[in-house]
Symmetry: none
Subunit: 241 residues, 4 copies
DNA sequence: CATGAATGAGCTTTCATTCAT
DNA sequence: AATGAATGAAAGCTCATTCAT
């Protein structure tokens, strides 16, 4: 029988990718074994090595491609939107929609950064920073324009992204509230947070003070120690401990 | 020479607990080996079993005691505060301060729920729900009193807690912004979010519609399948896959 | 070079089985380590797991296959023999010959029942009962026919089988007495025992009295307690203690 | 409070001995851990070493003392009995009664010979031989006197002892048949076996032929390899493999 | 007499990975 | 493109044993 378009190899590669996402999401990267993965796609575990160099690279590929997808789609969505408030709402809506749609990928990208080796993690963190930049720039411009009450755009960026990303910890399709309902609720919280309520709580901050933050939240994630011997699985050491 | 005060056993137990927190924070529970842990406290790995039943129980003990501490301190902090807005601010301040102070414990409690066995996870999730209840009740009462514009207190609870918890992903002591600065910023975002900006964005929600959420975000964390045969190490399966 | 006929896998499996029998016979199941076994067949210990699920199953497979072999050969040997005395002699001869030929298997099947987990032990005990049934039925029919003086066929069955099985505690091929010599001697003891000498010793037994025996000698072997928690290696508890 | 007569130490020693018998009977020597044993008598496992040199010696002490008891009681029972048939019956009755009464000790002495180190096993086997000698001499004298039809007293000895010993594989007190009932049945089998039925089955044996047996069944039990290094638990190698 | 902390060796089992076929 | 046999390392855990107190 003739090969179907997209060779078996291509199809197997795709199956492995999908099964990998599923299993890492379910069990975690460390806890997923390649035997499991191979069984999921109907192969022997040794055969997987036709499709990736090693387990670490499978994870890296999944996360990197996810980040590329996330960034390009976000940039496309915000492309024509100039007004800061409109951009903020568009960002929030995009982020939420994306996170409700591709929960497994998002979950992995957030949880398994610690399982990436140094170099790979650096790549992903750079992508993350670029993505965060979309929001940070918007907040900064809105603040300059006087429409947002945001004195620390970086902090606000982290806060807002944490809030929005949190949705994939509990959201399930088919619930009482539709995706659009939820987008409405979350956007309300975000917009309310950055417009005009702030003075009610906080005293003016000393802007000239030394920053209390790392250059990015990403820097907080544990860093793998340099691989040393043999085939040993790379272990990670956290910067912050 | 006589035994030093606070027998070796007690001190070793404490050292193991602390090293455990440190290593799980750095490497993750799955990636931390008991040999590593033993080396960290200057023991043979087998000797650790004087101090815990098994690796899983070490994790559970750490997380459970952390949650107990978190809850009791939170309840103490909110004890006399009746006014919804004051309670909200007190909760935010407590949560942030706690998370900036005990980052490793908090990080572990959030990240390693997936590594807990069924029963243990259920215990922790129940504690989490109780903690979330402190905020949810406050939001609900504030909404009833007309001081908060919150139509979905549960969703708002998840959103706010996600935002506040996010601080331990990037905060480092000694930065430009003091803990109190950051508490000011975050509290501003939270209070702004729940007071009066919402109508600007979202259409009224159909309150009677079917819920789109699990009973708790906790339910999203992967659930271990029931142990079936033999001595096999328990693996986890995610509810959502 | 092409794979040798009978793939390596098949040959390795057979080598493992044989080495397993040899080492369990020599050291006992508990005392045999899988490292020993692997070394015996020239493998790493982990590689054994291509060939059995775990150590316990290796033992079970060995014992179960032995019992199947024993039963089927015994049934074949007795197939056409109707006369009770002839059947008794045929049984004794078969049992002795088998036990002198496959001493290691027999020894293991008798000694290591205690090392089997509950379910496995139940299977083996059922097989043992079936085998014993061959003798018991013969004794019973012989007693009914008046050719045997056997008032308690079950007790006599246990006694005779114990006597015959005992041969594998001391027999070695190449000794002064041939297998056929020994069969002659043992058969004489057995036949003499069940034909007509009994009244010389014992007073008539109250047949209606309550039995003083377990349903089978097998039931005397220690029974593993039901596995309860975690991954703990199953220990055994004796029924009679 | 004053010490009771028989110091605590003496009582503890006795408790350890009894618990040891119980646990070795239940689990087997290899499978019994000293932690279990210590727990059974309410001690820490390290404290056991006040009462024995090591685990191996505990086993040896138990078995040796059992054998001494067995032999001295048997010799006492047979002391005044001269007539071969009476001696045979007395031996059988004694052996059965003893085995029904002290099943655990007997079981251990039979099953755990393989777990004894070389030297210890040699001691026990010598005792066993002496015990067997009581029966063998009786058979020999009976044969010489023409009252027994036994051409191979050694073989008959092994056969008879195996048969009688087998009772402790299935007997339980409180069953339908009393100890005396069972003694009657077994004695009938034994006496019948050695009196006059033999010619019915076997052709005369060539007495001058080379023996097909080891000097004692005991020699069949595995022999421990010489202890080699450090504190390593001694492993055993079977002579017959 | 007994504890309790610790050792060091060894166990069964799992894993990522390799490679001849 | 895939198999299946095997490796070598490491994991969690248990054990008999020691010894200062």
């Amino acid at each position: 029988m003739a090969r179907t378009i997209g060779s078996n190899g291509t199809r197997t590669a795709e199956a492995i990718r999908q099964a990998g996402v599923k299993l890492i999401y379910k069990h975690g990267y460390e806890a997923m074994s390649l035997r499991q993965l191979a069984a999921e796609v109907g192969l022997q575990s040794g055969s997987l090595y036709k499709y990736f160099e090693n387990k670490q690279n499978l994870l890296f590929d999944i996360v990197r491609e996810h980040m590329e997808d996330l960034i390009s789609k976000a940039e496309a969505d915000l492309a024509g939107v100039a007004d800061p408030l409109a951009r903020l709402k568009a960002f929030a809506a995009f982020h939420l929609r994306y996170h409700m749609t591709r929960m497994a990928h998002v979950f992995i990208a957030n949880m398994e950064i610690r399982s990436l080796e140094d170099e790979h993690r650096a790549t992903i963190i750079a992508q993350r920073r670029r993505y965060e930049g979309l929001l940070e720039d918007t907040l900064r411009r809105g603040a300059e324009a006087g429409v947002f009450e945001v004195r620390e755009p970086k902090v606000a960026t982290y806060a807002i992204i944490s809030m929005l990303t949190g949705i994939c910890m509990w959201y399930r399709p088919g619930g009482r509230l539709s995706q659009e309902d939820l987008i409405g609720i979350y956007t309300g919280l975000v917009v309310g947070g950055v417009t005009g309520a702030e003075e009610a709580v906080a005293a003016p901050l000393p802007l000239e003070a030394k920053a209390s933050m790392a250059t990015s939240p990403a820097a907080r994630t544990p860093k793998a120690k340099t691989k040393t011997t043999g085939k040993a699985t790379a272990k990670r050491t956290a910067a912050g401990a």
